[in-house]
Symmetry: C2
Amino acid sequence: MVTHTRNWCSAFNPSKCTHTAVRSEHTVNTHPEQWAAISSTRGATGGSGHFKFLLVSHESVLCFVPVGGCKADWRPSNSPKLIDLMDYPVPGIGTYEDFNTIDWVREKSKDRDRHREITNKSKHSTVALLFSISDAFSGWLLMLLIGLMSGALAGGIDIAAHWMTDLKEGVCLNGFWFNHEHCCWASNETTFQERDKCPQWKTWAELMVGVSEGSVNVLNHFMYVSWALLFAFLAVILVRAFAPYACGSGIPEIKTILSGFIIRGYLGKWTLIIKTITLVLAVSSGLSLGKEGPLVHVACCCANILCHFFTKYRRNEAKRREVLSAASAVGVSVAFGAPIGGVLFSLEEVSYYFPLKTLWRSFFAALVAAFTLRSINPFGNSRLVLFYVEFHTPWHLLELIPFVLLGIFGGLWGAFFIHANIAWCRLRKNTRLGHYPVIEVLVVTLLTALLAFPIEYTRMSSSELISELFNDCGLLDSSKLCDYSGNSGGTSGSVNATAANGLGARLAGPGLYTAMWQLALALVFKMLITVATFGIKVPSGLFIPSIAVGAIAGRLLGVGMEQLAVHNHDRKIFRGWCSPGADCITPGLYAMVGAAACLGGVTRMTVSLVVIMFELTGGLEYIVPLMAATMTSKWVADALSRESIYEAHIRLNGYPFLEAKEEFPHKTLATDVMRPRQSDPPLSVLTQSGMSVEEVERLIADTTYSGFPVVISQQSQRLVGFVLRRDLVISLENARRHQEGVVSVSAVLFTECGPPASPSAPPAVKLHNILDLSPFTVTVHTPMEIVVDIFRKLGLRQCLVIQNGRLLGIITKKDILKHMAQMANRDPESILFN
Amino acid sequence: MVTHTRNWCSAFNPSKCTHTAVRSEHTVNTHPEQWAAISSTRGATGGSGHFKFLLVSHESVLCFVPVGGCKADWRPSNSPKLIDLMDYPVPGIGTYEDFNTIDWVREKSKDRDRHREITNKSKHSTVALLFSISDAFSGWLLMLLIGLMSGALAGGIDIAAHWMTDLKEGVCLNGFWFNHEHCCWASNETTFQERDKCPQWKTWAELMVGVSEGSVNVLNHFMYVSWALLFAFLAVILVRAFAPYACGSGIPEIKTILSGFIIRGYLGKWTLIIKTITLVLAVSSGLSLGKEGPLVHVACCCANILCHFFTKYRRNEAKRREVLSAASAVGVSVAFGAPIGGVLFSLEEVSYYFPLKTLWRSFFAALVAAFTLRSINPFGNSRLVLFYVEFHTPWHLLELIPFVLLGIFGGLWGAFFIHANIAWCRLRKNTRLGHYPVIEVLVVTLLTALLAFPIEYTRMSSSELISELFNDCGLLDSSKLCDYSGNSGGTSGSVNATAANGLGARLAGPGLYTAMWQLALALVFKMLITVATFGIKVPSGLFIPSIAVGAIAGRLLGVGMEQLAVHNHDRKIFRGWCSPGADCITPGLYAMVGAAACLGGVTRMTVSLVVIMFELTGGLEYIVPLMAATMTSKWVADALSRESIYEAHIRLNGYPFLEAKEEFPHKTLATDVMRPRQSDPPLSVLTQSGMSVEEVERLIADTTYSGFPVVISQQSQRLVGFVLRRDLVISLENARRHQEGVVSVSAVLFTECGPPASPSAPPAVKLHNILDLSPFTVTVHTPMEIVVDIFRKLGLRQCLVIQNGRLLGIITKKDILKHMAQMANRDPESILFN
C-alpha cells in the first residue's frame, strides 16, 4: 500500500527516474501483484512484503526506485546540494541566523537547481515557458525598479537638503518652500550677475523688525546655530529611536554583507526611511559630512526591499548579494552622476562576488538611476553630474610636479585621517563617551556651526564650496577667488580689460588674498572637524569632506603656482610654458586633482576614482594629472598603513571580512591554523550511525560550533560529510515533534541504510538529507595562502582538514581571520562574528 | 661529518629553523661532541652515530632539524608548493611543455614565495631593500614600456596602412611617401572644401601618357586590383614563411593563453614583426578586415617580449598572464582611443584571472598607450579616437523603436555571421581547400578588389567609410550622403538656404538616393565577403567589418526614418517630436547604434562595447540608445546561439578553454565525469614506497597521463599526494645520471623515511620534494557544477576524486570539457589539448 501522497519533487521527469533528485525514503508495503506491476515497469527486482524504496513523486505520478545506496556501484544522486530547499518540508532548513556567514556554494547550487527546474518545466507547458521567460527577465525588471527608486530618492534628498541648508540662513517671501536660488529665479528683477541677491529672500535678521545694524550678524549666526542644532538633534533622535543601523556611511557594513555576512534589518524598510530623512537633516545641519556614502546605503536598502517582490532574489542570499552589488553602483551613480564610475566603484571597492552578468546589469541600473535623477533635475541645470567642470587650458608636463605633491598631501591626509578617526572611534567605543551619542552629536554640531559661520567658505555647504573651488575663473565670475587685478573684486566692472591684458591680468587682487587665508583656515578646520564627525550617530559620508579638503589644498597650491608663474613669467622655465596673453595655470584643475588625491588617500580607490573624475570633466585630457595624483596618493597612504577607512572600520567592528585584495604574506600551513590545536580536546564529530538522539542533542548543547563533521566511526575518523548545527537542531526538533516513536534512545542515522536494528528498537531518525556529502577539504600540508584563496574565491564558511583520508581538524573563516590578526600582531579576539 | 655544502635554501632565517622550507634530507655522521654542539644550539635531542637530519642551508649557515616526519605530531613544512623552484637544482622542474595547461595555484605560490623571499631579505641589507623596491615598481615600469611600445607600433601601422591604401589609387608628385591627404595638405592651393583634390596627387592613369579618356577608369581599376593582389600575396607569403601564428585576429588564442594554456611562439618576436608588417599589407590590400583585433595580438606580443627583461614575469606563467591581460586592454585602447573601454574589454571579453591590481595597471598602460598614439598623431587631427563624432540633436523616446530594430538586425547578423564563418572554416579545415592558403587569399583579394572598386563606398577603406557614415551632415559637407535638396549635391553652393529652410531642407536630393542604393549594395557585399575573409591566412580582425555592416544598415534606416519624418511632418506622431526648423533625426547616430548592435552580435561584448562607444561620442546623452541596441542584439544573438565568434573559433580549434560565463546546466556528479569509468582499467597510481625505478619507468612508458596520484598502498588507496609526469621523468633521469648507485631495482620513495631497507640494497631515489602534498580533492558526491566552479576560479589542471578517504578517480580540465561537449551533443573528441 502506497501511503505517501505529498508532492515534494517538483522537477520530476518520469522517463528518467534515476536522474531525479530523490526526496524521501520510505518503507512501502506492497502486495505481490502490486510489486510485480511496479518492478515490471521500473526494472526493479524483488518479492513482496516490506521493501525499502526511494519514493519519488511529481504531481500525481509516483515512481519507485529500489534503494541501492548500500551497493558499491550505486551512484548517489541525493546530495543535499541538489535538493531544492525552497519546497523543503521542514521549515528553516537552508536559512541562516543573524550575524552569521552564508555558504556561497550552497546558495549558488540552490539557485542553479531552481533555474534548472524552471527550464525543465518550461519544456512541457506554455504557462511554464512564459513563467520561465518572465523569470529570466525579472532580474532586468528589478534593476529598472532599483534605478528608478534610487534615482527618485536621491533627487528628493538633493532638493530637500538644498532647501533646508538655505533655511538656516533665511526664508523666501514668495513661499517658504523655495530655496535661495529658486526664490531668486522666481523673482523677475534678478540678473545673471546677482542671482543670489534678490528682495524676496530675507535672512532671519532682516525679517525681524527693530534689529539694530550691529546685531544683524549676531542674530543670523544665532539662527544658523539654532537651526543646525535642531536638525542634528532631530537626526540623532530619529536614528536612535527607529533605526540604529541608519547611522554612519554604511559602506563598511555593505562590504561585509556583500562578502556573505548577515545583518538582519541593516537593509530594511525602517533603515531606508529613517536614513533618507536623517540624511537630509544631517547634511542640512552643516556638519562636515556628505551624502554620497549614505546614498549607497539607501540604494542598497531599495534593492533589498525590492528583492522581496521577486522569489528568485528573496529566497537566495547569493542572488540577493548580486543585486546589492548592482545597487552600490547605483548609489555612486546618483551621488556623482557617474554611471561608469559607479560600476567600477562597486567592482573595485565594495563587491565580493561580481560576475560579468552583474557588471552589465549594474551598468543598466546605474544608467537608469542617473537618468531618473536628471529628469528630476535637482540642481536645476539639467546636468547629470554633481560638479560640472570645463577647463579650457591644457596642462604642461612640468605641472606634474605640483600634481605629485598634491598626491603626497592626499596620501598623508588619508593616512592621518584613518589613524585619527579610528583612534577617536576606539575612544568612543571603550570609554563613557559612547554612552552619550546625542550629546556628542549636539556638541559636534555646535562646534561646527559656531566656527563655520564666520568664514564664508565654511558657512556654505561643502558641495557649493567644492563647486566654487573646481570652477575655472571666467570673465564674468564675481567671486573673491576670481578677484584678479584688473577684475575689480566682486563686481564685473572692467572685465574686458582682463582679456586684453592676458597674463598680466592674472595678478592676484586683494579679494584673492583674503580668500587664500580664509581657505587656509577652512582647510585646518575641515581637517580637524571631519575626524570627529565621521562616526557620530547620524548618517555621514566622507566623500564630500575628503573632496573638500583636497579641493582647498589644491586650489591654494594652484593659486600659488599661478602667482609664481605670473611673477616669474620672464624666467626661462615659464617662458616656454606660458605663452603671453593666455592663462597657463588653471587653479580649478589643481583643486580637482587635490580632491582626487585626498579621496584616494582615504578610500584607496584607484580606477573608479579616476573614472568618476573623468566623467565629471568629460575629457581624457585631464586623466593623466588625476592618475598621477591618485597613484602617488595611494602609494604614500599604503606605505603608511595598508587599510582604507572602510576596512579599518570593518576591523574596528570585528566583522568577519576576508579582504580580497590583501595578500596573505605568511608561510603557515593548514595544520597550524586548524582547530583543534594540540592542546585542545579532540574535534567534536558525529558518526554516520551509532549515535542516539540524546547523544547528538548533548553534543549540540555542549558545544557552540556552527556545524559538525560526520565520520564513519570514531576509530577510523574517515570523513563522510558535514552537517550544519542549525539544520541538525531543526531536524531533530521536527523529528521529536512530528515523527512517531522518536525517543531519546532512537538512533540517528546519516546513512541511507543503517546497521540492522532489533525489531524492538524505536524508529531511527534519518538525517542523511541534511548531510552535505561534498564538504570542502584540504590536506594538512596545504599552505594557508592557498586555503585563504579557496575561501575567498569560493566563499566558504568552513573547510575540513584531512591527512591520508583521516579527518584531523576544521578551519573556519573566523579561524583564518584570527590567524591573520595574530600574524599582524593584532588582537585575534577582535573578530567578533563567525 | 657534514658532507653537504650546496646552497639550496635562499630564504633561510636561522632564528626560525622550523619555519624554513626544508630542502633535503641527509644522513649525517656526527661525532658525539659535534652532536652535542648541534643539539645545544638547535634544541635537538639524541646521541652520536648515524642520524637522520633535515639539512637546511642558507649561504654559509647550516641548520639541522631532527627528522620528525615519521612521528604523528610532526608538522610537515616541506610541501613542494613552498619550494622556490627558481633555484631548484634539477633544471626543468616546474616548467611546462608546449600545448599544456599551467597550474595557476602552483604558479601563484611560486610568486608568493619569491615575493616573501625578497621581502625577508630586504630587512637585512640596504641593497636588498633597494632591490625589493625596484622589484615592486618593475610592474609599473613594464606597463609603461608596453604602453609606449604598443602606442608607437599602432601609430606606425596607422600611418603605413594609410599611405599604402592610397598607393593603390595613385601617387604624390611631391614625394611618394605622402599619402593622399598629406599630399594635398602640402599643396598650397588646397582649400578647405576640396582637400582631396589637388594637382600634386595623380592617379596611376593620369601618370601614364597617352591613355585615352575612356580607358582611365579601366586602368585605375587594373592598378587598384594589382596593388591589392601584390599586398595580399606579400602578406600571405610572409605569414607562411616566417610566422604561421601571425594570421587571424589572435583574440581566440589570446583568450586561451590567458586561461592558462601554453602556445610557445604565439607571442614571440617573429610573430610580432611579421604580424605588424603583414597587418599593414592586409589592411592596405582592401580586404574586408580590420586592424583592431590584431592590434590586441600585437600589444600582447610586445608585453610578452618585454616580460623577458623582468625576472618576476619571465619565470612565472601566472604573473605573465596578468601582464598579458593588461596588454589586451592596451590593444583596444590604441585601436579605438578608448582606454576605459579597453580595460573593460580585457575584463569582460579576454581575461581569465583579473585581480584588481591588474585593473589599475591595465588602466595605466592603456592611458600611456593612448597618449603615445596621440602624440604620434597618425590621423593628423590630434584626436585620440578613431571615429570622432559629435551630434547636436537629442534623440526622442520614440526613436527607441528603430534602435531596437537595429539591435535585432545586429543580433541576427551576429548569429548568421558566426554560423556561416564557422561552417566555412570547418570546410577549409576538412577539405582540400585548406591546402592552398595562398591561392585562397589571392582569390578572395581579387574578388574583393574587383567588386569593391566600382562602388565608392566599398572602394574607400572601411575606416573612412565608417567615419563618413557616423558623420552628422553639417552645413559644409559635400558628400553624397549629405545631399539634401537645397544642398546642391557635391559642391557647397547655396548652403545657407539649408539652415533657413530647416526641416524642409532635409528632403533627400538625387545624390542621397544614389548613395542609398550604393550603400545597400555595399551592405550585401560586405556581409558576404566578410564571412569568407575572416579566417584566411593573413592577419584579420573583424571589429571594423562588423562595425561597417552595422553602420551601413544604421545609416540606411536613419535616412529612411528621416525621410519618413520629413514627408509626414504634419502627422501627429512627428509633430510633437520634430519641432519645425530643426533637424529631428540624426542618421549618423543610427549608424553608430547599428555599428554597436552588429559588433555586439558578433562579439557578445556588452559593457565594454557601450563604454568604447561612449568614449567615441564623449557624452552620456547617447548611451541609452546604444545600450538598448546592444542589449537587444545580445539577447537575439544569444537566443540563436550562445557562443561569440571567439568562443566558436576556440571550439573549432579544440583549445582547452573553460568559459567563465557559461553556466553548467547539468545535474551530473563528480563520479559521472571522473576517470576511470566503470569499464576502464583501474586508475594508474604510484605508491609512496615499495615501487622500484623500473616499475615507475614502466608506468610512465605505458601511460600518457600528465600526472599520477600517490597513495599509501595499492590496498588502502589512501591519498598521499600528486606528482606530475614531467617532474617525475626529469627527476628519474637526473637520478640515473647524477646519483651514484641508482639502478633499475632501486626503490623510489615519496616519503621522507621509507621502510627499513637491507644494507645491500641500492640507494633509494627520494622524490618527496616533487610530490604535491596538497592536491585538490572533491568527493564523488560533489555536483559537477561545483567542480567546474572550482576549476574556473582556482585555475586547476586536475582534481582527485575521493570517497571516505579512498582515492577513486581523477578529473582533468579535458575531462570536464569533454563532458560538457557530450552534454551539448557535440563531439567530445573535438577537445584536442590538455
